[in-house]
C-alpha cells in the first residue's frame, strides 16, 4: 500500500519548543498559591514510630502544614490490593514516608524537615524473599501472612479470572517422554532504576470536597486516573500532563507522590506540589521487580520444550504496586517463547521484603522474566547442542498457535510469523560465522575474549485494552485529533496526527491534537505495552474514516454525484474522474459547524509483537571488564510508521534499565543497614555518550492486515531481550555458565577463579 505520510520521518510537532527550551515540563509550571511538599523519610528499613514531635517545624515561618500518620485518612490507600496508607505508624523500608511538610517555598519545607523529632522502635527486617515466605519470618503487613500478596489485578485480568499460575496437561508424564530434563535456578534482582531524567512529580488542587484536578509527570494520564479510583474512592479526578521528561513505563500513576500532594492540598486548602529530588527518585521510587525462577524443563529431541514445572518468585519490595498484573502478563509471555509446551505446572508468588517498592517499568515484568526464563530454556538447548537461534525459531509463537493470555482466556495467534525476522537479523549480525558453539568464545586475542549471545521477547499486549478517538474537521482544512495520548519521548502524539493526516489526505501541519487531559478527551487506556501503534492507530483511523465519510457525503451532494465519485486532498473535495474540479471544505462545512467522526478499538491479544537481540561482548580476562562491542536488533513490525522514531526506540534498549542490567546496571543494597548505596547519578552507573557500541536494526515490513496501517508497536520490548543475550555472550566468552545479573567484573573474575 502506498502511503503519503506513514513510513516517512515526521518532524515532531513539539520539536521547535524542545530545541529552544520552550517545551513545558511539570516543574516549569505552577499554580497560584501553590505549596511545596517535602517528605521526611525513614532511616530504618523496618521500625515503629514511638513518638513524633512536629511543634518546632510547625512554628517555622512559611510552613503551612506538618503531617504525620495521625493525619492519614483511613480510606486513602495505595498498593495492590490497596493496603498502604499515605503515612503509617510503621515504616517498612529506608526512605518510607514519615512526615510531610507543606510550605510556601521548597527551601522552607526542606529546612522544616530537620526540625521534626522522631523516635523509632526498631523491628527485625527481612530482605530475602526466600526467607520472607517462611512461617517464622517477620511480618511486614499484618494482613498478608507469609509476606505474600494475594493474586489478582483487575486492570490486567479484568476481574474475571485470576491468572497466577499455568497448570495444564500432565507434567510428570510429559517429563518421562522427554529426551532431556534439566533443573536450574536463575535470579534477576539488582532492582535497577529506569531513571528518567525528569523526576516524578504531582500537583493536586481540590476543586470541591469530592473533586480534584491533577497535573502530573504521567506518561498516561488515564492510567493515573484508573489508579486514583482505587487510591481515593469517591473522589472525581481530572488528570493533566505536559511533556514528560522520560518515563519508560515508570512514571504512570506515582501513587505516593500523588497522595502526599493530595493530603497536603486538602489540609491547607491550597494547591500543592510533591516533586522528588533525584536522590529520592533513585531511592524511593518504583524500581524493577526482583525475580527468581527455579524450573524443571523437559525437552524433546528436536528441541521443542515439552514440559515446565516450577516456581516464579517475584520480590516486589515493601508494597506491591502492580506486581500481580505484571506476573499475569509474564505467564502469558512465558508461553509465547515456549509455545510447543502443553504441559505446565508454573506458579507465581508475589512476596514483600523490607526494601523500596517495585513497580511498572518498560517491559512490564517481561524483561525481568525473560532474563531468567530464556537462560533456563537455553540451558536445555545447550545440553542437546542445538543452535540457540534454531531453538528460538522452534519454540516461538506463530500463526495458529494457542496460548492463554493475562485474563486467563485462550487465544489463537493471528497474522504473525517471525522466522524470517530472526533469520534476517541473524544474517545481519553474522551469526553463522561468529557462533562457535556453546561455552566457546568467537575469538581470542591475548587477554581479550569475545563471545556472542542472543535473546528474544514477545508480548501479546501490543493490542491490549480499548481506545477511543474523535476526529473533528473544520472549514479551513484543520483536522483535530481528540485522543488521550501522552508524550514522554515515543512520539505517539505525532504518530496519532500522522494517522489522521494519512486518512484525511492533508499535510501533517494541518493536524492538531488535544492537550493531555482526561476530561477533554474520549477514553483511552494510556500508553503501555507498545499498544499505541495498533490501538490508537485503529481508533484514529476509524474516527477519521467516519469524519471523511460525512465530509464526502456533503461533497457528493454538492457536486450532485454518488459519494464514491469524490475524494479529498489538502482541504479540498474533488471529483475522482476530473481532479481539477474541486471545492474547498468551506463550501460544504461552514465556520459555524464542524464534522465529528468517532472511532474505537477493542482489545485484542491475538497478535504478539517480537524483538530479537544479538550482542557481541568483549571481556578482559585480567580485569573482568566486559564491554558490548556490537548489537543487532530486529523484528517484523509490519509497517514502519516513522523510521527515525522506531530506530530510536530500538536504541532505547540501552536506556530505562534495559540491556545494561545484564552488564553493570543496578542498585547496590547493603543488607546490613537496609540502605541502598547508589542514591545519586555518580554512584548509580549508566552508559555515557562515548561508550555506545555499533548498533544495527533490522525491521521487516510484511504488512499486517489486522491493523489499518499494517503495523504493530515494538518500542517497549526492545530492552527485554538484552540482559539474557549479554549473559549468554559472557558465558560463551569465558566458558563458564553464569547465573546472576549484572555481570560485573567481580562476578566474572570469580567465575574465572581469579577472585
Amino acid at each position: 500500500m502506498a502511503f503519503r505520510h506513514i513510513g516517512k520521518p515526521a518532524p515532531r510537532k513539539d520539536g521547535n519548543d524542545i530545541v529552544t527550551g520552550k517545551a513545558t515540563f511539570l516543574r516549569d509550571f505552577s499554580l497560584p498559591g501553590m505549596l511545596y511538599v517535602k517528605v521526611l523519610r525513614s532511616p530504618h528499613s523496618f521500625a515503629e514510630i514511638v513518638s513524633i514531635d512536629t511543634s518546632k517545624a510547625e512554628a517555622m515561618d512559611g510552613v503551612k502544614a506538618v503531617l504525620t500518620y495521625k493525619d492519614a485518612p483511613e480510606n486513602w490507600r495505595a498498593g495492590m490490593p490497596v493496603h498502604r496508607k499515605v503515612l503509617d505508624k510503621i515504616v517498612r523500608c529506608v526512605g518510607d514516608g514519615v512526615a510531610l511538610v507543606a510550605a510556601t517555598t521548597e527551601n522552607t519545607a526542606e529546612a522544616a524537615l530537620d526540625l521534626i523529632d522522631v523516635k523509632y522502635e526498631l523491628l527485625t527486617p527481612v530482605y530475602d524473599p526466600d526467607e520472607a515466605i517462611k512461617p517464622c519470618a517477620p511480618q511486614i503487613w499484618e494482613q498478608f501472612p507469609n509476606n505474600t500478596f494475594p493474586p489478582g489485578c483487575w486492570q490486567i485480568d479484568h476481574g474475571d479470572v485470576i491468572f497466577d499460575k499455568i497448570v495444564m496437561g500432565d507434567v510428570n508424564k510429559a517429563f518421562e517422554e522427554c529426551t532431556l530434563v534439566i533443573k536450574d535456578k536463575y535470579t534477576y534482582n539488582a532492582f535497577p532504576s529506569p531513571l528518567a531524567p525528569e523526576s516524578p512529580g504531582v500537583i493536586v488542587r481540590w476543586d470541591d470536597e469530592d473533586e480534584i484536578t491533577v497535573w502530573a509527570t504521567s506518561q498516561s494520564p488515564n492510567i493515573m486516573k484508573l489508579f486514583g479510583m482505587d487510591l481515593m474512592p469517591d473522589v472525581k479526578m481530572t488528570v493533566n500532563a505536559f511533556n514528560v521528561g522520560g518515563s519508560y513505563g515508570n512514571k504512570q500513576h506515582m501513587s505516593n507522590e500523588f497522595l502526599y500532594a493530595a493530603l497536603a492540598a486538602k489540609v491547607t486548602h491550597q494547591p500543592a506540589m510533591c516533586y522528588l529530588s533525584k536522590t529520592e527518585h533513585l531511592l524511593t521510587f518504583d524500581q524493577r521487580l526482583g525475580n527468581t525462577m527455579e524450573l524443571k524443563i523437559g525437552v524433546l529431541e528436536d528441541g521443542s520444550i515439552h514440559a515446565i514445572q516450577g516456581d516464579w518468585i517475584v520480590d516486589t519490595g515493601m508494597s506491591s504496586v502492580f506486581a500481580q498484573g505484571e506476573s499475569e502478563v509474564g505467564l502469558g509471555e512465558a508461553q509465547l517463547v515456549t509455545i510447543k509446551c502443553k504441559n505446565w505446572d508454573l506458579k507465581t508468588k508475589i512476596v514483600c521484603t523490607n526494601r523500596v517498592l517495585s513497580g511498572m517499568v518498560r517491559g512490564f515484568g517481561g524483561q525481568e522474566l525473560k532474563s531468567i526464563l530464556i537462560p533456563l530454556c537455553l540451558k536445555a538447548m545447550k545440553e542437546l547442542n542445538i543452535d540457540p537461534v534454531q531453538g528460538f525459531i522452534k519454540n516461538l509463537v506463530s500463526e495458529g498457535d494457542e496460548y492463554i493470555w493475562r485474563d486467563g482466556k485462550p487465544q489463537t495467534c493471528v497474522g504473525v510469523n517471525y522466522t524470517k525476522a530472526i533469520e534476517e537479523t541473524a544474517k545481519a549480525f553474522g551469526w553463522e560465522n561468529k557462533w562457535k558453539g556453546w561455552n566457546k568464545p568467537s575469538s581470542v586475542k591475548g587477554n581479550k575474549v569475545v563471545g556472542v549471545g542472543v535473546g528474544v521477547h514477545a508480548n501479546a499486549d501490543a493490542g491490549e485494552d480499548d481506545s477511543e478517538a474523535l476526529i473533528k474537521l473544520e472549514h479551513d482544512g484543520t483536522v483535530l485529533v481528540e485522543c488521550l495520548v501522552g508524550e514522554s519521548g515515543m512520539g505517539q502524539r505525532n504518530a496519532a496526527c500522522t494517522f489522521a493526516a494519512e486518512v484525511m489526505n492533508v499535510p501533517l501541519k494541518n493536524v492538531k491534537i488535544t492537550p493531555m487531559n482526561t476530561l477533554l478527551n474520549p477514553k483511552d487506556f494510556g500508553l503501555a505495552g507498545s499498544r499505541g501503534t495498533r490501538t490508537i492507530g485503529t481508533a484514529v483511523h476509524n474516527a477519521a474514516m467516519d469524519a471523511k465519510r460525512q465530509l464526502l457525503e456533503r461533497g457528493a451532494n454538492a457536486f450532485g454525484v454518488p459519494v464514491d465519485a469524490v475524494d479529498t486532498e489538502d482541504g479540498f473535495i474533488f471529483l475522482k474522474e476530473l481532479p481539477e474540479k474541486r471545492m474547498p471544505w468551506i463550501a460544504v462545512l461552514s465556520p459555524m459547524e464542524s464534522i465529528v467522526g468517532k472511532g474505537v478499538f477493542k482489545e485484542n491479544f491475538q497478535s504478539p509483537n517480537f524483538f530479537i537481540m544479538f550482542v557481541e561482548v568483549e571481556i578482559d580476562l585480567e580485569t573482568g571488564q566486559a564491554d558490548i562491542i556490537n548489537v543487532v536488533g530486529g523484528s517484523d513490525i509490519g509497517q514502519i510508521i516513522d523510521p527515525i522514531a522506531v530506530k530510536m526506540q530500538c536504541h532505547g534498549t540501552f536506556g530505562s534499565a534495559g540491556t545494561d542490567t545484564g552488564l553493570y546496571e543496578g542498585h547496590v543494597f547493603d543488607t546490613y543497614t537496609g540502605h541502598v548505596m547508589t542514591g545519586n547519578m555518580i554512584d548509580y552507573k549508566w552508559r555515557p555518550f562515548n561508550d555506545f557500541p555499533e548498533f544495527e536494526t533490522v525491521l521487516l515490513e510484511s504488512g499486517y492486515d489486522f491493523a489499518p496501517f499494517k503495523g504493530i508497536g515494538v518500542g517497549e520490548i526492545t530492552g527485554s531481550a538484552g540482559p539474557a543475550a549479554v549473559l549468554m555472550a559472557i558465558s560463551n566468552a569465558i566458558g563458564v555458565e553464569m547465573h546472576e545479573y549484572p555481570l560485573t567484573p567481580d562476578k566474572i573474575l570469580k567465575a574465572l577463579g581469579k577472585a
Binding site: P9, P11, G15, I18, V19, T20, G246, E487, G489, G655
Partner: protein, 160 residues
C-alpha cells in the same frame, strides 16, 4: 565586599543584590535556580543536582558548565548563554545546532536536549570540525536515557 553582582544573560545585563533577605541572592543559590526561578528561563533543566547529567548545562564565557553546581555569586561579570539565547532574538532563526536537532529528530522526551545542545555549542565554538570521538567525548557528561545518542551524533556531524 560587593553587595551586588552583574550577570550578562543572553545578551542582557542583570544586576542582583546579594544577601539573605527576601528577593536577594543568598550565597547558596545556584545559577540554575537563578535562571529558572528569577528569570523564568526554564529551558535549563535540573535533573541530578550533582553535576553528573548535563541537563542544566549553560555557556559560561563560552564553556559548558553545570549550572546546578555553579553558585550565582561566583558568576559576577560573566557572560551566560542559555538554550533560550541561541535563537536569533530578532529574526527568530535557530542556531544551526538547533536546526540540525530538528532535522534529524535528535531527541525523544527532550528533557536532556537543551543541555546536549549547549554542550555541542561549546564544543563547536572551540573546535568547529571535531571527529566522531571528539563529539562523543564532549557529550560524555550528558545523560540521555531515551537513547538518542546515535541520532545526536549524526545531527552534529551534519553541520561540521
Amino acid at each position: 565586599m560587593k553587595d551586588y553582582i552583574v550577570l550578562n544573560i543572553n545578551g542582557d545585563d542583570y544586576e542582583f543584590s546579594l544577601g539573605k533577605r527576601l528577593g536577594q541572592i543568598p550565597p547558596s543559590e545556584t545559577l540554575a535556580q537563578t535562571l529558572r526561578e528569577r528569570l523564568n528561563l526554564t529551558g535549563t533543566k535540573i535533573s541530578c543536582g550533582h553535576g553528573a547529567c548535563g541537563c542544566c548545562a549553560v555557556l559560561l564565557d563560552g564553556d559548558a558548565v553545570a549550572s546546578c553546581m555553579t553558585l550565582t555569586v561566583e558568576c559576577d561579570g560573566k557572560k551566560i548563554v542559555t538554550i533560550e539565547g541561541l535563537q536569533d532574538p530578532v529574526t527568530g532563526e535557530l542556531d544551526p545546532i538547533q536546526r540540525a536537532f530538528l532535522d534529524y529528530s535528535a531527541f525523544q522526551c527532550g528533557y536532556c536536549t537543551p543541555g546536549i545542545i549547549i554542550a555541542a555549542k561549546a564544543l563547536l565554538n572551540k573546535n568547529p570540525h571535531p571527529t566522531d570521538a571528539e563529539i562523543k567525548l564532549a557529550l560524555s557528561g550528558n545523560y540521555c536515557r531515551c537513547i538518542s545518542q546515535y541520532q545526536v551524533v549524526d545531527a552534529i556531524k551534519s553541520i561540521i
